[in-house]
Subunit: 274 residues, 2 copies
């Protein structure tokens, strides 16, 4: 690779990161409060969970035990709202379009800024999402049925229990994408390269084997067709930790509003392990 | 890794290579003429096809078009019986336990040494076999049904056509190993690391989708159980090029006798791409 090639490639990444920084400006000011899908293409977006003290410590232990649904791509220092792992100036108190504030499992506020709620014992967790590996699947030449249909990926509560801690436990939630066996094999290869955003699937084929009674009735998201010759392929889903936290009812918790995620400065391609 | 660790690891590999060299001594002398399964554990064994002149040139083009069934791990220079890619002293004329000699597709001799048949226009092809990736599957903690049953892996002629050349064409032959979906995903990851010995599977699930009418009736090898919750997983098989050559009926050809393969000096682990 000569110097011109390097600077060309670096230029593309720089342009993407400038796009993410530009997208965060109206979010930070409170002007933009909507969904982040489609903003800052090619850039990692993350789900957010903010927990206090030992609830945070225990949640990190829960994540470590359940890496497929719950690998954080960033964890703040206690009381520090900055996330240098994701970008130089990312402040978790202002950089998410909308937040939900919970006390003892009950939503008490929906806000666009959490500076008034910030505390010295809070730890912010950012969890990657399948948007990152879906870009890699598309770039590998695969078609995603829910993309083509313009709907949300179907998600299912399974009977595969997470490995619980004292206060966090619950079933694994999966997302489903149908593929021919040949494309499923390719999808397994591609997503294996992305261990921090759910990695390889946890199952394919018979939905009943993981406790899904009716594949046409997703727990969340929209139903998609499974065509003759296709098999459903199931990946661990970032809804898993959200459901586990909701069930645990910590005394205090802040999350992003579904669909309104944190936009980082990291290209999706940087998450590839190999 | 400190020096002691390095020399320890090197010692293990050295011991394996000494084992392969020792195994070749009675083969080379004509004293051992049997199967090579179980000899020189951990070392690459290969199927052999020796073809003359433009039949060799065309066969290499055929291999390039069909990398999953037909990636050579070594190809000799025309007329040169040595295979330095596989070891310092490997002579294809003496180092296979038994050979079959064909003229126009008819077997004309079965011999333990082909020095009398060697010609200036012959090219030796050595093709890797699934023994190499099966070691990696076992080391990944997976169970192989045909190993546990002590039988030959079941193989099937499919309706998946190879990409033919003028004189070489025919269906892909696959080997089949049953796994749970979870283990199948792991097996896809593991075998993807071994592109020179068939790599990832080409299919899983419905046998009819690749033209297999009855999974209990393999074309070659032995039937194995597929248990409830398991799916058959299909890899391209080294029998494919053998069948294609047999069908092409070249004027002259030498192969190994089935099961009596060439033992190299290369550890199976050295074939891993990543």
């Amino acid at each position: 690779m000569n110097d011109m090639t390097v600077s060309h490639a670096m230029g593309d990444i720089d342009a993407m990161v400038r796009g993410s920084q530009a997208a965060r400006v109206p979010i930070r000011s409170g002007e933009y409060t909507g969904q982040t899908a489609g903003l800052a293409p090619g850039i990692v977006q993350g789900n957010v969970a903010i927990l206090p003290g030992d609830w945070a410590d225990e949640f990190l232990r829960f994540c470590r035990r359940n890496p497929k649904p719950c690998t954080p791509i960033a964890v703040s220092e206690p009381g520090d709202p900055m996330l240098p792992e994701l970008g130089a100036d990312i402040d978790i108190r202002t950089d998410v379009p909308q937040y939900r504030v919970f006390e003892n499992g009950e939503e008490v506020a929906e806000v666009t800024d959490i500076r008034d709620y910030w505390r010295d014992d809070l730890v912010a967790f950012v969890l990657g999402c399948s948007f990152s590996f879906e870009q890699a699947l598309i770039e590998a030449g695969l078609k995603l049925r829910h993309w083509d249909a313009g709907v949300t990926v179907p998600m299912y509560i399974t009977n595969v229990e997470t490995s619980g801690t004292a206060r966090y436990s619950g079933p694994t939630v999966v997302s489903m994408r149908p593929f021919s066996p040949k494309d499923a094999i390719r999808a397994i290869q591609v997503t294996s390269r992305f261990p921090s955003v759910h990695g390889a699937p946890i199952h394919f084929g018979d939905p009943a084997a993981i406790g899904i009674e009716d594949i046409t009735k997703p727990s969340f998201g929209d139903v998609v067709d499974i065509r003759p010759g296709e098999v459903p392929v199931f990946w661990a889903c970032g809804v898993t930790p959200q459901a586990v936290i909701a069930e645990a009812k910590p005394p205090f918790c802040i999350t992003h509003k579904p669909g309104a995620m944190l936009i980082s400065d990291i290209p999706n391609t940087a998450l590839a392990a190999i």
